[in-house]
């Protein structure tokens, strides 16, 4: 199972990088969304895949009844999902603002902060 998921992670990462290399913010956003999922899949695979029951301890017991799946990667992924979700939401709002304020979603055209043709500092006075 792991090799299949590893290849899948690779495909996800490839797509994400390809989209992130685009000039247009909307494609970069899609890349960000896919990148988050690629990483979650990667952590999931790193934690080893097992056909075990969920790691929930039954009522009245102190230890799980049998072997369970590794709960830690799930906790890590949940955290990563929360973070990548909030990141994505922020970047979405920011991109919308950038589009309406700057009038473009082409990053090549975004030269407000670093304008072209700035004079070097004077050499004397």
């Amino acid at each position: 199972m792991e090799p299949v998921l590893a290849v899948l992670t690779g495909i996800f990462l490839t797509v994400a990088v390809y989209l992130l290399l685009s000039k247009y913010i909307i494609r970069m956003l899609l890349g960000v969304a896919i990148l988050g999922n690629a990483v979650n899949l990667l952590i999931f695979t790193s934690g080893r895949i097992m056909r075990e029951v969920p790691p929930v301890i039954g009522a009245g017991l102190d230890v799980p009844a049998g072997a369970t799946a590794n709960p830690l990667p799930q906790a890590l992924i949940l955290t990563a999902i929360v973070i990548s979700f909030s990141f994505f939401a922020f970047l979405l709002v920011l991109s919308w603002r950038a589009y309406s304020v700057l009038g473009t979603d082409n990053t090549d055209a975004m030269r407000v902060a670093e304008p072209d043709g700035v004079q070097p500092p004077p050499l004397g006075y």
């Binding site: 830690l72 920011l94 030269r111």
Partner: protein, 519 residues
């Protein structure tokens, strides 16, 4: 109220003895910042009360961090685990001298930034949430310095990143949106790379506790791809710290926000990247860093040169300072590349100096722009004639950032140059000195054009009154830089002890696993 009890033997998994009161100092800086940030978020519209609460809270934070530093200096590294789970099961906060020293310096910088913001951030900026974001940023920064768990480090990175987004777009001007887009996407890539590597790390080690990893790494050198891990971590943190090939987000964004925000970012954010690089490269994977040290040295040299050459080419003082931040990062990377305890001590000292001085420089640039009509070197001038004290303070800061005695930048540079020569990389020592020289030229030109020369005719020289409140933050930071330069022994000893603990982490390991050795 009772802690739940059950018949199973809990002593193997849980902390059962009561926690010493002083150990709470480990977690309190973070919890305090979160709680105050939450309260400030609720009273966002009380724009008069906000700065008072925030400044008082940050003063308390400085006290907490100072007490923590004292505690750690007296008793060695301290650990507290979350939710009673023994390490490596629970998330552990472990503080050694390095973390405590960084945390204290960052708290001082934040306090001074909050005081400076009383003048600089107006009511609308306060309603938008400058102070809550500042407190949450400090929660993230303190958490990153104090945690002893790799994944937890990632979480604090994200906390500080999200709050820095909020601070960056404060005001929503066109420039800020533009800068924030570049800052946002590139930092997202960096933290995602950090997360990817942490996924690999967990796959290899099965643990995320730093002490546990440090103990297990030597046994896995032959079987696991640890150099790859170290290289990936180095790339991720170098991106956060703005090292050469991945530094372009910094000059694109650091000059866009309010000047106080720029000052805080310059003081705090890149240093977190350096701290993480020290933690991973020196404590967790020293042998692997050794293998990468030549690459790191080249990256460090290029970072120093792009930083100081870039500074020479800028006519906007804020953008010039952005390049000086990068140049300082290069000097710290050089120390990490050399890797000997002396060099790491130099890096820690340099980081403390850089946090204080870079913040002061941005604040000074903001004040200079307010007094002389703009950030551009082509229009400013005439400060020397009207504001002698401010001019003197600025000149001291320029000397400090260039590494001249008797200011705080001198000693770490001496340590780094000496470590480079001792370590057989004299060319790196040469680049360190060259970059200091170029920085001197760049800042000297700022002094000539903005301070020394008479004001150009078109910006009619109306002498503006200078309020002492505006000068106070710069004065405090400059005085501390001079004091560190004149009496470096305390900080020097602390930095060297911190580096020794990192190099020989047995005290750190003992603090996490008191029985001795990992389970």
């Amino acid at each position: 109220m009772a802690v739940s009890s059950s018949p199973a033997d809990l002593s193997a998994a849980l902390v059962l003895q009561p926690v010493a009161a002083l150990d709470w100092l480990v977690i309190l800086p973070v919890a305090w910042c979160l709680a105050v940030g939450a309260v400030l978020l609720m009273i966002r519209h009380k724009s008069v009360a906000q700065p008072l609460v925030a400044v008082a809270a940050l003063a308390v934070l400085v006290g907490l961090d100072a007490a923590l530093l004292w505690h750690v200096a007296q008793n060695g590294p301290v650990t507290m685990v979350m939710g009673r789970w023994l390490p490596p099961f629970g998330i552990a906060f472990t503080v050694d001298l390095t973390g405590a020293l960084f945390a204290l310096t960052s708290a001082v910088v934040a306090l001074i930034g909050a005081v400076a913001a009383i003048d600089d951030i107006n009511a609308s900026g306060r309603r938008y949430g400058f102070y809550p974001f500042l407190m949450l940023l400090m929660a993230g920064v303190s958490g990153a310095f104090l945690t002893g768990d790799v994944f937890n480090l990632y979480v604090w990175f994200e906390v500080l990143l999200i709050s820095s987004f909020g601070l960056l777009v404060l005001g929503s001007e066109r420039e800020q949106i533009d800068g924030a887009v570049k800052y946002g996407f590139l930092n997202l890539v960096a933290t995602t790379l950090f997360l990817i590597t942490t996924g690999y790390l967990y796959g290899i080690f099965g643990t995320l506790n730093m002490a546990d990893i440090a103990a297990k790494a030597p046994g896995l050198q032959m079987t696991a791809p640890l150099v790859t891990l170290t290289a990936l971590y180095t790339l991720a943190f170098a991106m956060k710290a703005a090292a050469f090939p991945v530094n372009f987000w910094l000059p694109a964004s650091y000059h866009t926000p309010r000047i106080v925000v720029s000052a805080l970012f310059a003081g705090l954010l890149t240093k977190v990247g350096i701290y993480a690089l020290i933690r991973i490269g020196v404590m967790l994977f020293p042998a692997e860093r050794e293998q990468l040290s030549f690459v790191l040295a080249i990256v460090a040299a290029l970072t120093m040169l792009t930083g100081s050459l870039g500074a020479l080419a800028q006519s906007d003082t804020r953008r010039l300072l952005g390049y000086l931040v990068i140049s300082g990062i290069g000097a710290m990377l050089a120390g990490i590349a050399i890797g000997s305890p002396e060099a790491i001590g130099g890096v820690i000292f340099y980081a403390v100096h850089s946090m204080l001085v870079m913040t002061a420089l941005y604040l000074a640039a903001g004040l200079a722009a307010r007094l002389s009509g703009g950030f551009s070197l082509t229009v400013s001038g005439g400060l020397y004639r009207h504001h002698l004290l401010f001019t003197a303070l600025s000149l001291m800061l320029f000397f400090a950032v260039s590494g001249l005695p008797p200011f705080s930048g001198f000693w770490p540079k001496v340590m780094l140059v000496k470590a480079a020569i001792d370590g057989g990389v004299s060319w790196l020592a040469g680049i360190l000195l060259l970059s200091g020289f170029l920085t001197m030229i760049a800042t000297g030109r700022v002094f000539l054009l903005a301070y020394w020369r008479p004001a150009p005719a078109q910006t009619a020289a109306v002498p503006q009154p200078l309020a002492i409140t505006a000068l106070l933050p710069i004065l405090v930071l400059t005085v501390s830089s001079v004091l560190i330069g004149l009496f470096p022994e305390t900080l020097l000893n602390l930095a060297q002890q911190a580096a020794a603990t990192l190099n020989e982490p047995s005290a750190y390991l003992n603090s996490v696993f008191p029985a001795g050795g990992a389970p």
